[in-house]
């Protein structure tokens, strides 16, 4: 089996537009520069997300190199695991395409190969998806309008850990909410392979306040960095690619 590195993702769960601080789309671009993918799930209730909210959600995912999806609260569980996996595959495919370019020259990518040859490349992507380690930082909007959606969000996150933990690779999750009590972001759960502990913490949350999405993303980035700097001597620099070590 191939030796694989760690994939880093931010999963943002929100129900609308940010209203304070830096532009979240710029912050997502910053994340991408540091090799961290940003995925966004817009959680609708019976209300609809307005155009501005929609544009922001798509914009964040686009500049964060990730996937976005708007979904009704009832379908959240399936969507969260799907978006996370899809983004993972997308990133891995990017990595494999880079390798192909090095071997076959500039224009080569999986899409350019004749269909019959794609199968083998796909098997490599599949195998990487199974064995790669993942770090997923979950960023939950807890502004007032999210209040009654939080039980569903909790369910969906437990479901996500069930799906990712069925893989062979290791997973680490951490959970942040914004706005926090005092700062823009508050840590709920430190890096852990199990999300089950979330159940008790989530019920104590008191949603309310503003939506500082941009500051929340930029704060989340430093959290990845801090963690990485501890092992900085082992891994290579931050900014050149998605992977510490590939293939």
């Amino acid at each position: 089996m191939m030796k694989t590195g760690t994939l880093r993702q931010i999963l943002l769960l929100t129900d609308g537009c940010s209203n304070q601080g830096e532009d979240p789309i710029a912050m997502a671009a910053l994340a991408k520069e540091q090799g961290i993918t940003v995925n966004v799930i817009g959680v609708m209730d019976n209300d609809v997300i307005d155009d501005n909210g929609m544009q922001e959600i798509e914009g964040i995912a686009l500049s964060g190199g990730g996937v976005s999806q708007i979904v009704y609260a009832q379908q959240l569980s399936q969507t969260v695991q799907m978006v996370t996996r899809k983004a993972m595959t997308q990133t891995l495919q990017g990595v494999v395409n880079n390798e192909l370019k090095q071997i076959l020259g500039k224009s080569a990518s999986m899409e350019e190969l004749p269909p019959d040859q794609r199968g083998e490349v796909m098997e490599v992507v599949d195998e990487l998806g199974e064995s790669v380690d993942m770090e997923v930082l979950i960023l939950v909007d807890t502004s007032a309008s999210m209040k009654h959606k939080l039980p569903t969000v909790k369910e969906a996150l437990l479901d996500l850990s069930l799906s990712l933990n069925a893989r062979m690779g290791d997973n680490k999750f951490s959970v942040f909410v914004f706005p926090g009590k005092r700062q823009d972001v508050e840590k709920l759960l430190d890096w852990t392979p199990k999300l089950e502990t979330l159940t008790s913490i989530f019920s104590k949350l008191s949603p309310g306040g503003i939506t500082p999405t941009g500051p929340a993303i930029s704060e989340a980035l430093t959290y990845f960095k801090k963690k990485r700097s501890l092992r900085g001597l082992l891994s290579r620099g931050d900014d050149e690619q998605y992977f510490e070590e590939t293939i």
Binding site: Q93, P114, R118, G119, L162, S163, R167, M168
Partner: protein, 334 residues
């Protein structure tokens, strides 16, 4: 993915008559009608050079390619085909958009749910038994089907035969299930693992049987678990004869699809109240064990059983008395 049906828009919307020209193999396909869609792509009935085909298209090269890999592997297995036969893989460039597609055998028929609703529940056992023998072969090849549900099962014929059509969830054993639908997912109901293993599929088969009795399906209550599912099974007469088979499948206690198949067939041939954990038990033994389970039976059945046992007792007493009398007369005559 398939479960997104309710919220997601159709990924494509090509009218009948649209001509699709493959970039690599130059084959021409004309769209006849839409067969179905999910978030991952769309399936059309098309007219190709050699007749009708089903064409699945997606803007994601990933899902198309991995499905093609599964179909190729299925095609190497002997016996009745496991999935639709793969025809060709190609790309289609239209209006600056690159669409990936593959064509396959068009499997004509009703989906399992519609079939059983229109032909009657007598077909349930037969079709599920057929499904289980296909699953056993899929498992023996090292795969797990994954996204098993009535929409992905087509009944062709006559003679009627069940066929699996959507391999989007089909996963190598030991990996994480690629695609699933909540109602048929043991993770959703029991928080059980989504690792691809034969018991994952067998759980889904159990839920398919429940779905046939509850066409509208239902959601889990606060913390969905076995208890809710047991109640649902007990509440429907048509599930009575499958009760123990379903429960064992949901608990994950069948080691293989073949074992589940035998248990199912055994329960069907021994009637509704049979609970034989070992399929080879004699009829009398299993009848005895079922009468030791009074809580599982509706009270009316119990009363009837009591009445009939009284009757048996009376007959027995009369027979013994008359036997003794005959012996007595015999003795007197001698």
């Amino acid at each position: 993915m398939a479960m997104m049906n309710n919220t997601s828009k159709k990924p494509f919307n090509f009218p009948a008559g649209t001509v699709i020209r493959g970039k690599w193999y130059k084959q021409i396909y004309t769209i006849v009608k839409e067969l179905g869609y999910g978030a991952n792509g769309m399936v059309y009935l098309v007219q190709g050079a050699s007749g009708y085909l089903a064409l699945k298209m997606s803007d994601s090269n990933v899902s198309i390619t991995s499905e093609v890999n599964v179909l190729k592997s299925f095609s190497k297995v002997q016996g009745t085909p496991l999935g639709p036969k793969l025809h060709q893989v190609d790309d289609w460039e239209t209006r600056g958009q690159k669409i990936h597609f593959y064509t396959m055998e068009y499997i004509q028929g009703m989906n399992l749910l519609n079939f059983v609703q229109s032909k009657g529940t007598a077909w349930t056992g037969v079709l599920i038994a057929q499904l289980l023998s296909d699953l056993e072969r899929i498992h023996n090849e090292g795969w797990v089907f994954g996204d098993l549900k009535p929409e992905n099962l087509i009944v062709t014929g006559p003679p009627y035969r069940i066929r699996c059509i959507d391999v989007g969830g089909t996963t190598i054993q030991g990996r994480a299930i690629k695609e699933f639908t909540e109602f048929f997912d043991r993770g959703y109901w029991l928080g059980a693992s989504r690792k691809a293993e034969p018991t994952y599929d067998l759980f889904s088969v159990g839920m398919i049987l429940i779905n046939l009795a509850y066409p509208q399906r239902f959601n889990k209550t606060e913390s969905g678990n076995m208890q809710q599912l047991r109640k649902a099974i007990a509440a429907k007469d048509q599930l009575c004869k499958f009760q123990y088979t379903i429960e064992k499948a949901l608990e994950g206690s069948f080691p293989s699809a073949g074992e589940m198949r035998m248990h199912l067939l055994d329960a069907l041939s021994h009637g509704a109240s049979t609970q034989s954990s070992a399929p080879k038990q004699s009829r009398r033994a299993s009848a005895a064990s079922s009468s030791r389970q009074p809580t599982q039976q509706p009270s009316r059945v119990q009363k009837q059983r009591k009445k009939s046992s009284h009757f048996l007792e009376t007959v027995l007493v009369i027979m013994i008395v008359s036997l003794l009398y005959v012996l007595y007369i015999y003795g007197e005559l001698m």
